[in-house]
Amino acid sequence: MTTTANWEEPTRAPLVTSCKQAARLVSISFERRLSLREWFSMRAHLLMCKTCTFYGRQIKALCAIFARHEEVLANTPASVDEKLDDKVRQRIKDAMGHCA
């Protein structure tokens, strides 16, 4: 079932696609404009398939959230495993002291 096809070029997407092909088209649509045929093929599948509609919406929403992660880093406190420990903190200060 593995198809190592070129994803950059529009393919002759069938009018009735599987969930697998539909998800692939959703991903491609983030990177380039789908051809009319691809777009139609994706829409037709999403129209019929509730779970792929969930999939498409979730992926899109997650991408929007990921893109805002720097806000989170700036606004939420870091957990312990995301903090420099004191030894390293001192090591960096020492190294900077030598450099200055």
């Binding site: 079932m1 190592t4 983030f30 979730q58 805002r68 806000e71 939420t76 960096i92 900077m96």
Partner: protein, 199 residues
Amino acid sequence: MSVPAPDNNYPLRLSPADTWVDQHGDYLFRYAMMRLRDRELAENLVQETLLAALKGRGSFGGRSSERTWMVGILKHKIIDHYRKDFRERPVTDLQTVEEQTVDQFYDAVGNPRQYPRDWMPDPQAVLNAKEFWTILRGCMEKLPKTTSAAFAMRELDAMETPLICKELGISPTNLWVMLHRARLQLRACLEKNWFGEKK
């Protein structure tokens, strides 16, 4: 950021070594940990970043905040690291491996093995939920190194595809397949560990 005015309690002017590590160290470290899965590596890159900033501080024009400037330096160091990772890996089999992983999510006729459930992330809730980012980090760690690097550049840093391909020396198709696989896997992992529970 202005240099604190010298006052009597501090006979010597504070040097960057004293202030930068405490002011920006944790942020830079956290930023690096989001993109690398290796504590030691993240620590080293933070150190290199601060040293580079110290050396280059004469050329820092103050057009952006001090922190933004340092994040820019760190970003380059992380990309340098990704580049090395990709160079050590035969890129020819990359696409095959990634497509095989994509196949694992589906049966022979292309139906998902696990049908996506009905949930929608609430951006405001997610952005404030610390555990969400911990879980996301855990999910990213389950991706192969190269895949999570590509994902981080595209989705976290919003880099343009051609630039990522150039930096990593891969074709757009290679990159897109990796991103597709990362999306499938991260979505499923988040559904299982975060959104599933919340429902």
